[in-house]
Amino acid sequence: MTRLLTLTPLDFAIVAIYFAAVIAIGVYLRRFATTGEEFFMAGRQMTAWVAGLSFISANLSSLETMGWSAMAYQYGMLGAHAYLIGAIPAILFLAMVMMPFYYISRTHSVPGYLQLRYGEGARSVAGISFTFLTVMVSGASMFAMAKILNLLLGWDIHLSIWASSLTVAVYVTLGGLLSAVFNEVLQFFLIWLGTLLVPILGLVAAGGWNGMIKAIQKNAPIIHPTVQNADFTSLWRNLGSFDTNPMGIDWFGMVFGLGLAVSFGYWCTDFLQVQRVIVAKDLRSAQNGTLIGAALKMCVPLIVTLPGLLGLAVLYAQDGSPLVLVPESDPRARITHYTFNDVLPLLMGRYLGPGLLGLGVTAMIAGFMSGMAGNVSAFATVWTYDVYKPLFRRNASDRHYLAMGRWCSILGVLISIAAAYALLWFSNILEFLQVLVFFFIVPLFGTVILGMLWKRATSAGGFWGFVAAIVASIGMWTYVHTFPEGYSPQPKVTLGEGSVVSLQKDQASGALRRVTVESGQVAALNVALAGFGAPAQAQATAVTTALALPASVTARQGTSPVQVLAPQVTVAGQPTRFGVEGVEVVLRPGVRLSVSEISQRFAPAAFNPDHTQYVARSRKAKPMAVNMYSGWWSLVVCVVVTVLVSLFTRPKPEAELKNLVYGLTPRPDEGKPPWYESPALWATLVTLVLVAVNLVFW
């Protein structure tokens, strides 16, 4: 497919200025990171605004903006729940309930809190799993950036990986967390100012909000034919059952899966997030910083969800029909169709001229790099304080740990690069990585919150509850992807490069009815054809008489249309490409045909409805619903096991729980704040706005 975006020299200059600026900031900040506390905790001097912007930016990476625009294109307005019920209640809970414990205990990290509350066992499990995950996520972010820049702009993948990671290595190694936080705040402005024009101009083109909604209602059934009855334009009224919304989820999964388990796990115990606010200069700033983050989080749908919705309303093909984008997993992706992930770049290319496009691309690169920097600085902190210090060298000097932090930053970048290259060769790992994060953060939340609110929770209870929930998460994930009777991917016919093809269309509708391959080579996957070699390893064989391949195939999972992909063929003497489904393909004598069949007992990309009905209460539950329900059950397992084990084991004496548990943690007296600095006031206002937004878009 052609490149989505083409930059002018001015756009390149804007990108180059960004790289120069972040390196200059890193060099400048080196002098302010000369002790462990300064390097790892930014000297605990952050104001509420810096902490809040950094808190929200650490999560507002380019994967986030592009990914959730894609979600909105796929799931409609439900995509906004990630910024409403899927974030705000948890952030408010972090600010008002959990922050005092994190802050008063003076912990360096969330695993550090586990050590204080439960002991070394829970800290080691959390510390090691967290360090592993951060570098993997960092590598995934880098890999995704390189791949996206390659697809959008044609940039070399290796150059993208090395240029961005070396830049991050320089500024994080020099300035530590302070440098990462500075760049996150900078990125916040760049993302907003680089992206906000897209929805503004998109709404102008759509004829305003009402024009956009009308266009979505008209186009969505054409773009998403498998969810014909789904409502794309509401937040709650379509959640009565699994099949009335495009996400295939119900209200219980949304509230308890996303709103409670996944959201609280992510926002309250993911150290990458929490680190941003526990370094504030005092408890009130930490709380207000978190609340500023909550207020800003509710605005993010304007630059993320809205472009996704506009993609359903303003993108049209040359023939005037709605432009259909497909998932990355679709075999037609990037051959004949753009993908869901392309919706934001498509809109950028459509509306942003020279200069503005450079700003948009810089915002994307800044998002990727600051996401990576956040992971690397969190990796350096947790590795140094929660793995290296307790397990390898307990009583070294501060200078030694500072040096370890700097080396860890470089090491973190190098491991991230290795992870990025691993993903380059095994790209299917990428889709499991997000699930891997769920495996750990939801159990971690259950363990931490019981430790904070229930003084009877014991070390053994915390450890075994945490481990049992991780095992339960992995078990559920394995179970829903297991197919005891075998899973066959959708049947597919691929026409080889240079094949000569003629197309027969319906005269009335113009729809393609038959594809005839005059010469060339054809590969058929899971299209049952007797007499064409053994399954899975057939050699190409020339067809001796004209052969018609079926338009659909009936297998154990039901009837599936055959996908026909023609990435580079010749039609009427002209090179072309196309992709269709459910169309008969006729092979002329002489065409070489290879046949293969795949059947898997374990298919990570597919969900077995026979099994999902037990995890997500319905055979109709779609992947997102299954993930949310898995999070919920994982939290339940964590709480139940922690409580049961705690009841049969000896709790810590209360004296050892001071400043760690509710009821035993006196709040520091910071004096009565002026009314406009009261966390309770701002928490109430954010809650009221959240309720209002949900009611308006009910």
Binding site: L10, V185, F189, L193, G349, Y351, G353, G355, L359
Partner: protein
Amino acid sequence: MHGHRIPIWFFIGALLAVYGVLVLAAGLYGLVHTPAVELASLHAGVWWGALLLVIGTGYVVKYRPRRQE
């Protein structure tokens, strides 16, 4: 001691001001040579560049490094 630290807002302002100048210049050039994008008639580059410049300059002026008293 490490001396006085320049606020983050100054760096943000400086970068936005530079970007504002560049985007505004491209927008003004687009008044004569219209870019091949949709809604080019709205000249988004002009007013968006001006907005960046105003925000950036405001931050630079307010948070510029001053000699410590």
